[in-house]
């Protein structure tokens, strides 16, 4: 394993750790950016890092990390303040005003950096893609051990973000959901907004050196958006987003090692691969989300129509039994010994025509009901079992009760059957009994057919 991947803990372990720290740290405050519909603000604040560092250097002529760090955070905050200002003054929407502010600031940063570049080791390309691969090289010495500097910073940021989200959970929740209520309740929505912006700015600044803008912006937004698709509770969303971020970082690093060999490239940006993996996670969430998933919805629809087809099949067989024959001699009934059913090709054609489905679907429905023990197939014949007969009788009961009810409600005789056809699949025993008491004596439906009773085919409990 280690051989195949060309894996060394001193090197890859540190990259992986740095990537995970950065991804998880960014995803935590990112949840609130997504929920406040200010996702772009994370992007904007991250881009302000460049002009911030340049301006800090030009103003102080200091190259100390701390000074540049503060400069970048201040620039990030300035972005947030300016965005709000322009939105209010210019009467434009948040997205447009964010776009105006951060592109302008970023451009100013590019101009300034030419002045500062000679003195500060800053490369615009590095701002975008980061240099995760270099993170193991710079270390600081703490209690006798060499610790990678970037990982140490990011661990601090992760701790800060974790504390922020846990301690201010309530405040973040109320000011994101209902700023008006928050402010009237004594939690200034504006104050919470700027606290969040400070945290976002610090995260962006701390991450950009290691991971670059792309990764941090992606991690602000993509894992929380994926998590939102998968859950309906904020606390679960936050933990889930952190998990997705970590998984993206791990998957990204491994694919950055493996993919170049398969594709024959020399190397792939680790941060880029991590971002790509986060995008994949989102795609999976979007396909399989329990509430809004594309595939989930499709599966749910197919399952529902299949369930209805299966139920309709039983009800149709019940009606054939009741009548004693099928037009065209495809079926027969011998009620005395419970032997009845539908036979052969003609019977098949008849069922498929009545149920408006293809033969293949019909066979599938028959197979499902056979598996459930509601149907037996003896050679070419399909027959209801005792339990199948019970299920079917209850469906027919629901159907006929609904017809009676709808008729008394004044629905035209031409339409009661079609409405009852739908309603019968969603009728519980309680509802049936209420319909029963509501509808005359419940003996026959408007078409003169007998309404089966609730306990007609109740299977006696096995003692």
């Amino acid at each position: 394993m280690t051989d195949v991947l060309d894996w060394t803990w001193q090197y890859d372990g540190v990259i992986l750790l740095t990537g995970i720290l950065c991804a998880v740290a960014a995803s935590l405050p990112g949840n609130f950016l997504v929920l406040r519909r200010t996702s772009l603000l994370g992007d904007a604040v991250s881009h302000a890092v460049l002009p911030g560092i340049a301006a800090a250097f030009l103003l102080t002529h200091s190259r100390t990390g701390a000074v540049l760090f503060v400069g970048a955070v201040v620039a990030g905050l300035l972005t947030a303040v300016l965005t709000e200002l322009i939105r209010d003054i210019g009467s434009v929407d948040e997205g447009a005003s964010t776009g105006v502010v951060f592109t302008t600031l970023f451009a100013a940063g590019l101009v300034l950096i030419v002045q500062a570049a000679d003195a500060v080791d800053l490369d615009p390309g590095c701002v975008l893609y980061g240099a995760l691969e270099d993170s193991p090289l710079q270390t600081v010495r703490i209690v006798g051990t060499e610790i990678p500097r970037v990982a140490l910073t990011l661990a601090g940021v992760l701790l800060l973000n974790l504390l922020f989200v846990v301690l201010f959970f309530k405040e973040l929740l109320i000011s994101s959901f209902d700023p008006g209520l928050a402010t009237t309740g004594g939690y200034s929505a504006r104050l919470v907004h700027y606290l969040l912006m400070i945290v976002v700015a610090i995260t962006a600044v701390a991450s950009f050196e290691a991971a670059g803008n792309i990764l941090v912006v992606a991690m602000f937004i993509v894992p929380p958006s994926s998590a939102l698709l998968l859950t309906t509770r904020l606390s679960r969303m936050i933990w889930l987003s952190a998990g997705i971020a970590a998984i993206s970082a791990v998957a990204g690093h491994f694919s950055a090692i493996v993919l170049p060999r398969w594709l024959g490239y020399r190397s792939i940006s680790t941060a880029g691969m991590m971002t790509l993996c986060a995008g994949l996670c989102f795609l999976i969430a979007a396909l399989f989300s329990p509430s809004a998933g594309v595939l989930t919805g499709w599966v749910r629809r197919v399952r529902l129509s299949l369930r209805i087809l299966c139920e309709d099949l039983l009800a149709l067989l019940y009606r054939i039994e009741e009548r004693g024959s099928v037009p065209g001699g495809a079926g027969r009934s011998d009620v005395s010994n419970g032997q009845s059913g539908v036979f052969g090709d003609a019977g098949f054609e008849y069922l498929a025509k009545k149920l408006l489905c293809s033969r293949r679907l019909l066979i599938l429905a028959g197979w499902i009901q056979q598996y459930r023990g509601n149907l037996v197939r003896e050679g070419p014949a399909w027959r209801l079992t005792d339990s199948g007969r019970r299920v079917a009788s209850l469906l027919v009961r629901s159907h006929r009760l609904w017809e009676s009810y709808l008729a008394t409600e004044g629905v035209g005789p031409g339409r009661i059957h079609r409405q009852a056809e739908t309603l019968e699949h969603y009728t519980s025993e309680g509802l049936r009994n209420r319909l029963d008491t509501g509808v005359a004596d419940g003996a026959v439906d408007p078409h003169g057919s007998r309404i089966p009773r609730e306990d007609d085919f109740r299977i006696p409990p096995v003692s």
Binding site: L35, R37, L167, K170, E171, L173, I174, S176, F177, D178, G180, L181, A182, T183, T184, G185, G186, Y187, L228, T231, T232, R233, L234, R236, M237
Partner: protein, 257 residues
């Protein structure tokens, strides 16, 4: 001078937006234990009035006193029910979470939400008749249920003065009756509610007094005295009021500059 028993006293209140007045020189008092309806056409500044009372929008001039004190000092005694559309109903929280938010003001910064708070929220939900929905996600609620959730959130605050922004907008008849029932039991408990209302037919039935608002107060007082055809025509009148004409002229002038 300032009356400590008076739930709400508004003097000379003006709110402007881009120098265009939204409400102008509004002045009225609300006596305790009354249900007060605020009625007026769209754009008359009804929501703005409530927001200005709570400092949610800046005042251009004027003074608001709640139980004889400024808003900041008496906000614990005020419950606000914003318009239903003002929040995102797809937010990943449960109905119970939303109601519990009504207690955040009392819990304070860094305070934890405890079981007593959640139980109080559950009781409030029972009171508005949707106790069984407590653990649902809010996106699954119907319009009427959303409004009941907001009402429960206000109830749980146990405020003395309630400010409600169109609680009856687009709710089913059953919800409307439930809200009216709750308003009446609030009044019976000596509480006061100021309610923005749209349906003119039900005003005499629901409210003890009424404020007819169209940028300024057209008329205010006990419903049976003030809620007259003549006053309504003055409030909803098709013609632009002189005030509106003046502000319109002001705006056009500014745009030409």
């Amino acid at each position: 001078m300032s009356d400590q028993t008076l739930p709400l006293s508004i003097q000379d209140l003006t709110v402007a937006w881009h120098r265009r007045p939204v409400i102008w020189d509004v002045e009225f008092d609300v006596s305790p234990g009354r249900l007060v309806g605020i009625v007026g056409p769209n754009g008359a500044g009804k929501s703005t009035l409530l927001k200005a009372v709570m400092d949610l929008v800046p005042k251009a001039s004027g003074r608001v006193e709640i139980f004889g004190r400024p808003w900041r000092e008496s906000r614990q005694r005020v419950g606000y029910v914003p318009q239903r559309e003002s929040v995102d109903w797809d937010f990943p929280v449960s109905v119970l979470d939303v109601v519990t938010m009504g207690l955040y003001g009392r819990i304070g910064w860094f305070g934890r939400v405890r079981r007593v708070h959640r139980e109080a929220a559950r009781r409030a939900l029972e009171q508005v008749g949707i106790g069984e929905l407590a653990d649902r996600q809010i996106s699954q609620l119907s319009g009427g249920q959303q409004q009941r959730t907001f009402l429960a959130r206000a109830l749980v605050q146990e405020a003395d003065l309630y400010l409600m922004d169109e609680p009856f907008a687009a709710v089913d008849a059953a919800t409307e009756q439930a809200i009216v029932g709750i308003l009446r039991s609030m009044r019976a408990a000596g509480r006061t509610a100021v309610v923005i209302h749209h349906d003119l037919h039900t005003v005499p039935d629901y409210f003890d007094s009424v404020v007819l608002l169209n940028m300024r107060v057209v008329a205010e007082g006990p419903t049976h005295e003030v809620f007259t055809r003549e006053n309504l025509e003055r409030t909803y009148g098709g013609r632009l009021t002189l005030l509106e004409e003046a502000t319109e002229a002001l705006r056009r002038r500014e745009q030409r500059l």
